[in-house]
Every structure is written in C-alpha cells, then in structure tokens.
Amino acid sequence: MRDLTSRREFRSLLKLQTQILESMVEGVSVYDSTGIIVYTNSAEDQMFGYEARELIGKHVTIQNTYSPEENKKIVHKVIDQLKKKGYWSGEFNNKKKDGTKFATFARITSIEIGGQKHWVCVQEDVSERKQIENQKDEFVGVATHELKTPVTSIKAYTQILKNRFQKKGDKASTDLLSKMDAQLDKLITLISDLLDVTKIEAGKMSFNLENFNFNALVGELIEELQRTTTRHTIEIKGKAPKKVYGDRDRTGQVLTNLISNAIKYSPYSDKINVMISQDSKGVTLCVQDYGVGVPKKKQERVFERFYRVSGPKEDTYPGLGLGLYISSEIVKRQGGRIWVESTKGKGSTFCFSLPIKPRHIKQQKIQLLKVI
C-alpha cells in the first residue's frame, strides 16, 4: 500500500518536474560524456529549430559552429572548470538546423545518470542582447569621434593664443594658456581611452608592427612625462636590446599609462623607478612607485575594464578606470604579459614584457570607418 503511494507521489513529482522543464524559457539539454544528446526540453528544440526529440541521439557538435579542434579545447575548458568551480559558464557560437548562426550564454553542470557522467547545459539566446551591445559600442565610437573634432579646434585655438601672447612677452597670459592646454590634453586622453575601448570591443584595434628602438622610446617618453610632475624624479635603470618588435606608439601608450599612474597614485613620495631588463625571451619593463599600493585581493582585477581600486583613500583619485585595461590588451595582442606586484601603503610595481623576436600576430581586420 505504502509502495503504491510513494510510486504515485514519485509519478506526480516526475510530471511536475517535466512541466517545469517544459515551461522554461531557457533551453535545457543533457548529453553523455561522449557528447551524445540524451535529453532536450522544448525551448532547446525551438531555439535550434528542431522537432521535438529530433536532437536526441545526435552529437552535440551539430549545434555549434566550431571546428573539431576548437570543440576539443572547449571540452577541456569545461572539464577544468567543472572540477574547479562545479560549473562552467560562457558563450557558445551556435547554429540552427537551417544553418542560421546565433550566440547563446550557457551554463554547464554535471550529473550522474545510472552511474555515468552526464552534462546538463542550460542556455539562452543572446543574439539580440549582443546586437544591442554592439550598437552601444558603435554609439560610443561615434560620440567620441564627434567629441574629438571640436576638441581639435579648441586645442588649436588655445595654442595660437598662447603663441601670440608669448610673442608679445605677456608671460601671465602665456602661463594661463599653458595650463588650459594641459587640461585639454587630459580631456584628449580621456576621449582617446574611450575610443580605444570601443576599438578593442569591436576587434578593430590595429597594430603597426616593426622593429623599433625601445630605449629611445623610453627615453623620449620619460623626458615628456618628467615635465608633468615637479614632485617626482623618474629614474631609468637598465637597457633593452637595440631592437624590439612591436607597435612603437601602442607600446609607448602602455609606458605612458604606467608612469602616469605611478605619478597619480604616489602623491606623497618623490621617486619613480623605471627598470628595463632582458633575457632570451624578451624585454621586461617595470615601473615602481612608493605610493598607495594595491591590496593583494584587488591586484588581479586592476586590469579589468572600468575597474578602479576603491577604498576610503583611493576614492579621491580621478579616472575612468580604462588605462590598465587598454594597456593589458595592447601587451597581450603583441604576445606579451602584464602584471603587478604591490603592498598596500608601500607602493606598486607594474611590469610588462614583450617578445623580442617577430612572431605571428593575428592582425584584426583594419577598416577605415568614419566612426573610429
């Protein structure tokens, strides 16, 4: 009698669970460890354009657009994350039965069915969201470009005036216009950073790769940056090999960013060290300051987009939180590495390394667009 009740309860629970799965907006699929699909809910079937149960027995790779190699890599990543975190989440590039491509955001967990490991994948179509994101990035691109145009003429007019006052010997007005010009340069850096982020997001940041004199670049930039601070003395130690392969301007941008940060975040110390070293693999440059430092647990995050170290003291430092993100993208795209060593309250050392020898760098498609 009890057996019957529990069986009835079990059946009704099963029915309820099936109803829940079928009512879900997200697609749910289950596949075994070899990738054969054993279950799909109706949202999954609809999302991929299949009839009910049509996907069952098929291999999961018919749902995506990856090459066998890429699929292997994904499987390894998923296994790795399942072990570490208990789940994997990320984006998939998928295709429908009719070949239409679309993107999903998926979460994968693992379960055991009859003693066999299976994967449960819950995913939702994010094509529309991605399209909106692209539109937003494009808008930021257009807006920043439009900002650049008037700033260019304002800067030009400022310099004309400064030049005229200088010729007349009016030092007070010349100094005033120098200050205005310096503030305009800050505004231009902000605009350029925003523009760079939209380029990175759209995959349109291009690199002019060549052998260039690394030491000369460092020397020039330090001379320029030394002029922006009266408090700090920037000292160079060490030398790089004569030629380093990469994009000279973009590498300079990384260095400028690291030194500007060192100046900004060490308002009470007077020394900044720039250390260059080399080994068989490449050249490494470190910028050391004796400023506020970055707490250990926040060190990994400083290279993230929009991330700014926040805390009672740090809150007073201005900025968009883009410089280190852009720097890390520039370094990574040139096959290099960027990292930080820091003790809170004692200072930070930001380093990046670049390979010396030319290597194959995937050039993103260069497009001349009015917006960028």
């Binding site: 650049k148 260019t152 030009a156 030049n163 305009l184 002019n208 301007d249």
Partner: protein, 120 residues
Amino acid sequence: MPKKKILVADDDPAILDAIQIMLEDAGYDVVTSVNGETVYKMEKSFPDLLLLDIWMSGMDGRDICRYLKNQEVTCNIPIIMISANKDTDKMAKDAGANDFLAKPFQMNDLLEKVAKYTKS
C-alpha cells in the same frame, strides 16, 4: 622670399579656420577647402604643400592622395594626411602621403612637419 603656399583640406570649418590662422601666424600663405572635389580637380596655381584630411565629406582622402601622386603635374606636391584616427598612419603612407598627423595635434608638430616639406 615669396611666402610658401599651403592648401588645407578638411570638412570641419573650425579645424580649417584654426589651421589657417596657425599657418598664417607662422608666415605661410594659406588656401582652404572644405570640399574634397576641388582638391581632386586642381589644375593650376598648385600649392607647395597639401594638408589633407583622410576623411573628406563623402570622399576618401586616400583616393585623392593616390590620384594626385599619380598625376605628372601634382606628383611632386608633398602631402601630409591628417586623421582623427591615430591608427591610420600606415594607411596614409600606403596611399602615398609623405607624412601623417593625428588629430588633435600639437601646434609645434604641425609647424615642424610643414617646415620640413616646404624647405626648398
């Protein structure tokens, strides 16, 4: 010595105005154009230097540059391309431009480049 003549082509009137004043203050004779077409079709009274925006309204500055560099009468006019995109340096050179300047620019950079290519 007669003044060197610079032709400046940019579709933004304010930038054009500022560059004109800058160059006139530095002792150059300046002619401006907001229209790529007129630069494309110039036939006489050639300038000693052309400052050319890479994106003229509806016209690709690189096409103008390539065209002028391929004409016998204009191929020797130095061309400095100006662009708001600092990544277009290489594109400008590929189109045959002698030099490149990114917007916004430092006045001294502009004057140095102009002086360099107008030295006789």
